[in-house]
Subunit: 140 residues, 2 copies
């Protein structure tokens, strides 16, 4: 199917199943005590998972469905001591296109369910993509 | 504005201005000889850039507008010697949600234009987000 310019609609390919139920209790990053969580994929996308294995480092892309899209400036980490800065210089979920990036390790693959370590996304968050980590991903 | 579940429409916040004009001539990754390129932001999003500076390492999120969204399996790097694998185990642009991740360094900031090093995205590619690189982004 053609990917027409102007048609920028994401299609959820799955969702997060996690004990994290609300934003107030979620850690800001996966490395800050986030729980392990399942990525549950839609049956029609199971083929796209072939080749993913335990121990792989992947980047999960989510749609942060509880974020506000109208915020252009914020205080990093919601800390009032931090000066306001543009959202593109922060990892705040509140931003024009609230796509979350979550670098995680695969702990288990069971059919169309993938268990990952330390995911700070809330239960029910739509998953839109998964990519393997590349060496250059730190921008170094 | 509420970010209603089901409304997963990305809004371009800018576009790539690059000498790369077609997919056949583009390198597969930014570290493979990609040219420097400008990110040109829409005037309404200039505020969101505040705080970005020369030398910062950022991840640019793009919408790979020439990708095919119906591909679920591919041969990595388009190499016929590679076995077919699910697209979530590859960085192929062809995938259900063709969001590109480009880790790059900022070389210059001029108003709402940002010059970055080694970007493999084509001229005219919509930019949907910019995030600072975090230490955990390798999934390590």
């Amino acid at each position: 199917m053609a990917n027409l310019r102007g048609d920028l609609a994401l299609r959820p390919v799955g969702h997060v199943s996690s004990p994290l139920k609300d934003r107030a209790s979620a850690p800001k990053q996966g490395t800050e005590g986030a729980p392990d969580a399942w990525l549950v994929f839609e049956p029609s996308y199971q083929t796209a998972l072939e080749g993913l294995a335990v121990g792989d480092r992947i980047i999960v892309l989510t749609w942060l469905h509880q974020a506000s899209r109208d915020v252009l400036r914020t205080r990093p980490r919601d800390d009032p001591r931090n000066p306001e800065t543009g959202v593109f210089a922060t990892r705040s979920p509140d931003r024009p296109n609230p796509v979350g990036l979550h670098p995680v390790e695969i702990l288990r693959v069971t059919g169309r369910r993938v268990l990952v370590r330390g995911l700070e996304a809330l239960d029910g968050t739509p998953v839109v993509d998964v990519k393997p980590v590349l060496k250059g991903d730190t921008g170094a």
